[in-house]
């Protein structure tokens, strides 16, 4: 009787394995097609267990990555409320690995570090209680968080090279937070080439070029083209383009007769636009 059961078990296993011989090549082909289509989630390393907890890691194996990502978002939110930036960073790190295609998650995670954490570094009263090397200054830690935010966006564009929106965000962060207009100009150029970014990136590319040392002439030609194109199509040119062209005319010492006829834009308006941009944390949108 026992022998009969064992014989049956072995035979059943053999039948299943035989089916496997037919199935596996078909499955492999299907999986490689799914990988090409971006349908197979990138496998998580075992090292992720420490970051997300054992049960959450196991849950991701059962096809509930998205659910675990929401759980990690809740943890990130909680850490943000407590101003625990390490917790925010860790939670978002897991979210990026779980759902690298979630563009908004990359943007939000980076914003927490390059804006919230970096500003918080300059305001926290408990600064002295931190276990940091004595020579470390607040400014250094702030800059580290800005760099971390920029690194997140750099990874984001690497993972989603077709997203114009990510290039736009990356460019703005490089420009306004990283103070690197040359790198920002390159990112804006990519944003123009990819779908999903706003039309303003066309102008912003010119502004960042204007701030990039050595590329002023290129910026002047580019912005002047925008200005002339608007005039040819009887469109109203946005004030910031006029401001930028006029600045460049002075900087490049363009002959008076070749300068654009518009009046020097109001300095007060300019200041108010810049102040608005700083207050809202948004790009300068005249």
């Amino acid at each position: 009787m026992r022998f009969k059961i064992w014989r049956k078990t072995v035979l059943a296993l053999l039948l299943v394995a035989l089916f496997g011989l037919v199935r596996v090549p078909f499955e492999d082909r299907l999986q490689s097609r799914m990988e090409t289509d971006g349908l197979l989630p990138i496998p998580l390393g075992v090292g992720m267990i420490d970051q997300m907890g054992q049960s959450a890691f196991l849950a991701t194996l059962g096809g509930t990555r998205a659910l675990v990502a929401i759980y990690m978002s809740l943890l990130a939110y909680d850490s943000w409320e407590q101003q625990e930036w390490g917790g925010v960073e860790n939670s978002f790190d897991v979210i990026f690995k779980l759902q690298p295609q979630d563009i908004q998650a990359w943007i939000l995670g980076a914003w927490h570090l390059h804006t919230n954490a970096s500003i918080n570094m300059m305001e926290r009263p408990d600064w002295k209680e931190w276990k940091l090397p004595s020579e470390t200054t607040r400014e250094e830690v702030r800059d580290r968080y800005i760099d971390k935010g920029i690194d997140i966006l750099r990874n984001a564009v690497r993972n989603n090279p077709e997203s114009g929106k990510l290039y736009q965000e990356f460019a703005w962060t490089l420009w306004k937070k990283g103070m690197d207009p040359c790198a920002a100009a390159e990112a804006y150029k990519k944003a123009i080439e990819h779908p999903g970014s706003l039309a303003l990136v066309v102008r912003f590319y010119g502004y960042t070029l204007a701030e990039c040392p050595g590329r002023e002439r290129e910026a002047y030609d580019y912005l002047l083209d925008i200005y002339l194109d608007d005039k040819a199509r009887a469109l109203r040119t946005v004030p910031s383009v006029i401001i930028a062209v006029k600045d460049l005319e002075k900087k490049l010492d363009v002959p008076f007769l070749l300068r654009i006829p518009d009046l020097e834009p109001n300095e007060a308006l300019r200041r108010s636009l810049e102040q608005n941009s700083i207050d809202s944390g948004l790009p300068w949108l005249p």
């Binding site: 496998p43 096809g63 998205a66 929401i70 759902q99």
Partner: protein, 304 residues
């Protein structure tokens, strides 16, 4: 002199389908009586919570949270139900002695197994369908509200052109109700159907429900990572022959559930090609047919 009795026709296709349907319907009733549909109430609460969750989310993320939560919960329900409910069916029929009554009638063991399989699949399909409708309605309401709200915000700011507003709203709408949700639900169903067939196969060997649940859940987990685990192990151990052979054997015996894991990617908006969906359905059908035949092979002359 009395005439000999005509043999009872039990093998006509109509009768077989009728008997399988009767068994499937009774299995469905049996599972409904186990209060398995209470999960839908829990699901409704979960969606309500998810749709009111606001963790600094952008408009499209708000929709994605509803989608992620719902698809995740549906996925979890489907695989848990597929293992636990299926594992309990044959032992319960044995305990209630229903199995003896059924098999004493002109019902073949194949029809019995097929009836059980169809009953569980029917329950899962109806539950998933109900959940899909429920969450699509919630998602549609939220989508409509969010798009109207965003349109007003973008237009009143005066900073964006009509084209830019339309493109921003299209990004949000991509996270709303669409055919992809139906395909994702179908993928969840396929995965659970394979799991049901596998669990029935295990339960034909098993002596208790607990054993079936434990082995089924273990196989389900292993089925998600065995290929990757053995690839990584093999690389770590300098392409060890033993590890490679062991990996291949496990790969032949245990289903690769990763193939059906498209839900996570659908949740972030990756489109599924119809060809992929068809191949996936064919693969699932193969699994179900083969596992059912092997189950029959084991169950055919099993003594109770």
């Amino acid at each position: 002199m009395s005439e000999p009795l005509a043999p009872i026709k039990t093998m006509s296709p109509g009768l077989i389908v009728g008997r399988v349907w009767t068994l499937a319907a009774s299995t469905f009733t049996q599972l409904v009586r186990m209060r398995s549909f209470y999960f839908i109430l829990l699901f409704a609460l979960l969606i309500a919570a998810a749709s009111n969750l606001n963790l600094l989310f952008s408009p499209e993320q708000k929709l994605r949270v509803i989608k992620n939560t719902s698809l995740g919960a549906m996925s979890m329900f489907a695989w848990l139900f597929a293992i636990v409910a299926t594992a309990m069916l044959i032992p319960r029929d044995l305990e209630d002695r229903t199995l003896y009554t059924i098999l004493a009638k002109p019902v073949s063991r194949f029809e019995y197994l097929l009836g059980k399989l169809c009953g569980v699949l029917l329950t899962i399909a109806l539950a998933l369908g109900a959940m899909l409708i429920l969450f699509s309605v919630v998602l549609w309401f939220r989508e409509t509200g969010i798009i109207a709200e965003q349109r007003q915000v973008l237009e009143s700011s005066g900073r964006f052109s009509e084209q830019e507003v339309a493109s921003e709203l299209a990004i949000i709408a991509r996270q709303g109700v669409g055919w992809n949700l139906l395909l994702a639900t179908w993928a969840i169903f396929l995965k659970s159907a394979v799991l049901v067939a596998m669990t029935i196969l295990i339960s034909t060997f098993a002596s208790s429900s607990l054993f079936t649940i434990i082995v089924g859940a273990t196989f389900f987990l292993i089925g998600h990572f065995h290929k990757l685990a053995f690839q990584s192990l093999s690389a770590d151990m300098d392409e060890s022959t033993l590890i490679t052979v062991l990996g291949k054997i496990i790969g032949l015996v245990i289903p690769d559930f990763r193939t059906f894991n498209v839900v996570d990617m659908v949740a972030v908006g990756v489109p599924i090609a119809p060809g992929v969906m068809t191949s996936m359905s064919v693969l699932a059908l193969f699994y179900i047919v083969v596992y059912s035949l092997v189950s029959l092979f084991v169950f055919f002359d099993k003594e109770f």
